[in-house]
Amino acid sequence: MAAPVSVRVQREDFDLAAEVSALTRGRADIGAVVTFLGLCRDEAGSLDALELEHYPGMAEAEISRICHEAVQRFGLQAATAVHRFGRIEPGENIVLVLTASLHRQAAFDGANFIMDFLKTSAPFWKKEHRADGSAGDWVSAKDADDAARERWSR
């Protein structure tokens, strides 16, 4: 059986526990599940919200490609990714990645790999809305994120 990959791109919030249950329900062969939850943060107290723009269709397709590659590369038993778009306030969820495997290392590595590629290849763009009402900027891509992806090069 091919490992199930589930990818959703949605405006509404998600529930981490419900996603883990959906991933493991009816299966006795999974030994490890790793979850990564990415949140909207406000380091300086100046952020009102982030606006996440995405490329409908390609966003789902690209995350699916990344998840399938992770399944193949690390022998995962299942992978789930949920990414939100639209207006997201500090403290709210942005992205969830779940990976399942026989032993923990593959699930840790798989989740790490999916996030490194998602950051640099999934077509999403963040715009900041400032608490003082001034027009915010588009968030700049970070060299550190490119470097994180490069360490997986074969």
């Binding site: 490329y55 390609m58 990414h83 942005i94 640099t120 999934a122 999403f124 763009w125 963040k126 715009k127």
Partner: protein, 86 residues
């Protein structure tokens, strides 16, 4: 001449002033790089959006491509800045 559907995102969309358009391309426009060069001749808003041509990312039919990629047969070409999701 060939007809392509173009879609723009993030600050590329804002600077060009529209999210999508359909354009007729002259015969000399073969690759994504050629397309970027051609778009920059269409007006100041395109010049502003595509000024730093090497940072612009492109996708053909919703898959990432390099600037050297031929665009023949493309249904949809997307242009956008480096991605900042996750």
């Amino acid at each position: 001449m060939s007809t392509v559907n173009l879609v723009y995102f993030s600050w590329v969309r804002e600077r060009i002033g529209k999210g999508e358009e359909t354009l007729e391309l002259p015969a000399g426009v073969v690759t994504i790089g050629d397309l970027l060069g051609h778009l920059k001749t269409l007006g100041a808003e395109y010049e502003a959006a595509l000024e730093h041509q090497n940072v612009i990312r492109a996708a053909i039919n919703q898959e990432h491509v390099d600037h050297g990629e031929p665009i023949a047969g493309a249904r949809e070409i997307a242009l956008f800045p480096p991605m900042t999701g996750g």
